[in-house]
Symmetry: C2
Subunit: 151 residues, 2 copies
Amino acid sequence: MKITRKGEYAMRALVDLALHYKKGMRQIQDIVREEDIPEKFLEQILLALKNAGFVESKRGVGGGYFLSNPPDKILLGDVIRLIDGPLAPLDCVSKTKHVKCPKEITCGIHSVMLDVSNATAEILDHVTLADVCNRTKGMAERRAEHQMYYI
Amino acid sequence: MKITRKGEYAMRALVDLALHYKKGMRQIQDIVREEDIPEKFLEQILLALKNAGFVESKRGVGGGYFLSNPPDKILLGDVIRLIDGPLAPLDCVSKTKHVKCPKEITCGIHSVMLDVSNATAEILDHVTLADVCNRTKGMAERRAEHQMYYI
DNA sequence: GAAATTTCCGATTTGACATATAGGAATACT
DNA sequence: AGTATTCCTATATGTCAAATCGGAAATTTC
Ligand code: FES
Ligand code: FES
């Protein structure tokens, strides 16, 4: 699983929306300013996220985007699967797999990559947008504490 | 970390060499026949593996390739890093990283991806070529047992 | 020492895909 | 009507994966 810019932008945008959950609409421009993402590219991404049901939107003046569900109900793994495809590092390990290795049934490499794939999914399918926000907050606080020693 | 064909071929070739460790030279043609890999492509790959010290070679009649070290001393993680680059799913998490997220220092996504990266490395930096061979053997045996019920 | 075999090495090709950008249509508010 | 905002499709651009080509260098064999 390689996470592309598109996937990274999608996650960053969703985290941004999570931080503003239940605080009204959030417009593309707002997210662009906050996250430094190419506007037209983000437009495409939000559209995909909308079609997949992660976010909803409203057009016209005062419109914008907002999460369809609470941040603690959105798994990072699902976002990545939508934007960047399977979590598995090798196609032969993912569901929509093509047989590539001539001896797949007894392929040790396949077996190892299955382990990797499961370990990755185990993490990404348990981390929610809310968790990401909390991590960010925790890191910022711990950093602030450290700063205090130098005041 | 996305594993490319090149990386997959590299691993398959090394496993093939591991299975013939201390049994003399193994020529490109032999590996091609056994593993169904494009010959000229495999040539490039073996050359890279040789320059990195994983294999050694001998030219001319009766020449070929062989592992520089015993199969239980070669880690899958090192092979993948050489051929396909960092194990991390995002560049900002790898050593040779470029700052991409504007708030990297307190980025929750970064933190999660670091976990993923570490989990992946934990597996791939403990699996050797010998382990892969054993897994293959184990799978084949278990499969053979199953077959017996149908005889 | 000529011929056959095998690895070594750089250049080139091809197609796919990542990363956008452009331009306008549709919708909603004032 | 006019403005703001999302929606949608098409197009451009560059990079890289995946291979192919052609010959040079080394080694053995005869
Ligand atoms: S089955 Fe995927 S590498 Fe063998
Ligand atoms: S630091 Fe990599 S996504 Fe934020």
